[in-house]
């Protein structure tokens, strides 16, 4: 964005501190606009002053254009980044993960695959990681076949779709049945751009521009589309799956993003698409090819892909992909911790165990979910370790007997009153605190398992 200090933004605000945006002052609102945790639409006064509103909107627009695809709950935002390195602010709009289906699939297999993609979920720090998009790939047989495949996919799933073909008649056939769902068109090239640009204009859908490893022609397409009034553009510079060509692909991604953000080259400041799926052009041995594809996914998730087209839906590939995306897009400004305190899991009674862990969100949610799914009624104490995991916090002295006592004291948790056993369970990784804790709290201390998934088994043996 062109403005980067709250003071600069403040000048454009009404300066009346009306509080309708949820912030106490216009200055506070200005800071939230700069760190992008609020939108200018939240200022009702500004909304009435169109001129100022538009001026500020322009100045606050992210360096990389943000576009949307799909409709409803599963609508996605693509692009919108402002920095080259996540620690400089944060990366916005997690890489959209699209997985392919193709128009020669048998209906049963097609539906099964679409469902697998749509329903995939993995619990992580209090929420579920999911996949975002289905790419319908034309195998070139016929436009009618493609059309019916798209129709089936959008019937079965609410995920946004990407229509993949270099043949404008095929793309048009797909659009005819799903234009209202705002699909992404893949792709316009130097050969088909005229017809594809017409489709993008006619149906108001975002379009991917594809150029095989050549940034001059990619820019040529982007400039030309922009001149035609098409701004919802995604750039695919071609993802080569191996060799020196992979090196040039990597460099192209860096060049495009650097031009967009560091050099503010507006005509090329669009979201970028990677296609690790091209791994399947050089091999189809499922395991090694899925490794290569997942490796490419990691590389381009880290370096700048805003949307990604993939093939393997083997769990090992999916898990690493959604985790790497989470890694890159977790907001580094928000510490990953939960409030310390003593929480009830299920319906604990006086005979229920009291278990301790750190307040690192990841640890806490992992333990909590293991306890919940093991149906163990208990108290779970999240000790204030400054958001550090148990093992490191024991070494770094953020997890100590005194800290544990503090947590229970602050929560007003009295072992004599709340429990019949006067016993606390330490994580296996904090075993060395046992003696200290017995002295400091005057209670019985048991050493639990090293990993919380073993708690149910441990309970059977050690808790009667």
């Amino acid at each position: 964005m062109k403005l980067n200090s709250p003071l600069q933004v403040y000048k454009y605000l009404p300066k009346i501190n009306c509080g309708k945006c949820g912030e106490k002052t216009c200055m506070a609102f200005a800071s939230r606009l700069v760190d992008r945790s609020k939108k200018i639409e939240d200022c009702q006064i500004l909304l009435q002053d169109k001129e100022k509103f538009l001026q500020l909107a322009e100045l606050l627009a992210p360096e990389i254009r943000e576009i949307t695809a799909g409709v409803g709950d599963r609508k996605v935002r693509i692009g919108g980044d402002d920095v080259l390195h996540r620690h400089q602010l944060t990366f916005f709009n997690p890489t959209v993960l699209a997985y392919d289906v193709w128009d020669t699939m048998e209906e049963v297999a097609l539906i099964e695959r679409v469902k697998k993609i749509s329903e995939f979920k993995k619990f992580y720090v209090g929420h579920y990681l999911k996949l975002d998009m289905i790419a319908v790939r034309s195998t070139g047989e016929s436009a009618a076949k493609f059309k019916s495949c798209v129709e089936k996919v959008t019937e079965v799933s609410t995920l946004p779709v990407m229509l993949c073909s270099f043949d404008p008649t095929v793309l048009k056939a797909g659009l005819e049945v799903c234009a209202d769902k705002k699909p992404v068109l893949y792709a316009a090239t130097k050969d088909n751009w005229e017809q594809v640009s017409k489709l993008a204009l006619e149906y108001h859908v975002p379009v991917v521009l594809f150029s095989e490893g050549d940034l001059d022609s990619l820019k040529t397409l982007a400039v030309s589309f922009n001149r035609l009034g098409i701004n919802d553009i995604i750039l695919d510079p071609g993802t080569y799956p191996e060799g020196a060509q992979l090196k040039s692909t990597f460099e192209n991604f860096i060049k495009l993003r650097r031009a967009g953000i560091k050099e503010s080259q507006k005509e090329i400041a669009y979201p970028i698409m990677a296609a690790p799926i091209t791994a399947w052009m050089i091999d189809n041995d499922p395991t090694p090819t899925s490794y290569l594809e997942a490796a490419l996914a990691s590389i381009f998730m880290i370096k700048y892909a805003d949307i990604m087209l993939l093939h393997s839906i083997e769990p090992h590939a999916l898990l690493s992909e959604v985790y790497m995306r989470e890694t890159m897009y977790t907001d580094p400004r928000t510490p990953l911790k939960v409030d310390s305190g003593v929480y009830k899991i299920g319906n604990p009674t006086k005979d229920s165990p009291v278990i301790t862990t750190s307040n690192f969100a990841l640890t806490y949610y992992t333990v909590e979910s293991d306890l919940s799914s093991g149906r163990i009624d208990c108290y779970l104490a999240s000790v204030n370790t400054d958001g550090i995991g148990v093992e490191a916090a024991v070494a770094g002295r953020q997890f100590t007997a005194a800290k544990i006592k503090e947590t229970f004291d602050e929560a007003g948790f009295d072992f004599k009153e709340k429990t019949s056993h006067n016993t606390i369970i330490l994580p296996g990784l904090a075993a060395r605190l046992q003696g200290d804790l017995e002295d400091v709290m005057g209670i019985k201390v048991l050493i639990g398992p090293v990993d919380s998934n073993q708690i149910p088994g441990w309970m059977d043996k050690n808790w009667l």
Binding site: G243, E267, T287, Y291
Partner: protein
Amino acid sequence: MSKELTLAEVIELLNNVEVEALEGVTFEGDIEIEIDESVMNFREEANKLIESRFAVGTVNEWTTAIEEVTIGATPANGGSRGHAVTVGGEKALPYYFDSEMKNPTCVVAIDVFDMPIQLAKSVRTSYEDVMESPSDWAKKVVSEYHADMIALHLISTDPKRKDASASEASKTVEDVLQAVDVPIIISGSGTHKKDPEVLEKAAEVSEGERCLIASANPDNDYERVAAAANKYGHVLLSWTQLEINAQKELNRKLIKHCGVSRDRIVMDPTTAALGYGLDYAYSNVERIRLAGLTGDKELNFPTLSVSSNAWNAREAWMISSPLKEDSNWGEREHRGLIWEAATGFALALAGCELFMMMHPGSAQLLKKITRMLGGSINEEKTDLSNWITKLII
């Protein structure tokens, strides 16, 4: 209006706030419309592309090269290693085109332990037959798994394990140096009290081999470890936990107070596993590398990633999800391999050039991809035109 807007700008502004149409709007006053030549041409030639050239600059702020550090000494340099490994020397982020990557950007050391240890099943299968003998273990990782280096962990010295003495452990160091001729990393058991003594003895028996001694850290007697590394001609690992300032401070102390020379420091700012703090580890290393490149002489050292920490993640080793709500986790053999490699990819792109790893498959995948990014593998070329219909599925 304080600013003159062109029609195109107005449309752009409206587009930005997703206004598709304005109703009941009239323009008052004079409207000047400038039509430049290119628009005229465009009207005439809507069926022609507007030819453009793409160009982007290099990063000027990267003024400082990462120190070059050599691990391992060949007979010519007073050691007995078959080859030495040099890392560092680059003046850009890994694999960036701004400057050439002078040395190998991804050197993998495979872990060897001096006594049997509990390992994830998919790792254990590779080492089951050699676990009782560190020498055989070392030989296997070099001959079968093509490790560039080995990382020997003297965990038997841990008072909670065997509490082996420093001299007992150093015997293993001698054996391993005999068994293989790659450069080695010698690591203690992670026990802050005992490690300095153990590493001192290990440094002594490996004098002149230019090993990487792991580690000096803020919680142990790093002066003693540094003195041993200096005295016996080794390289020192400077280990801190996910904190750039702590890393800077320790490096400064090692250089200024302990007299460690700049070409003998490697940093380990800590690697957390994918899903378990890798975001911190990635950004920490990236910040350290950027600081080094832009001139911070207390941070421009080669960097090591203990990517084998990936096996701490339950997603890497557990047979299936403990949560019934999760989708199927699939085969753990594949999952674990990717988990360790992915952890490595993130750190490789953040700025690490040395890696400690465990799964041979992960090490191979990391090396293969990073060598391609480094430009040193040239396979057959792939033709992407019409790729949509050319997948072999």
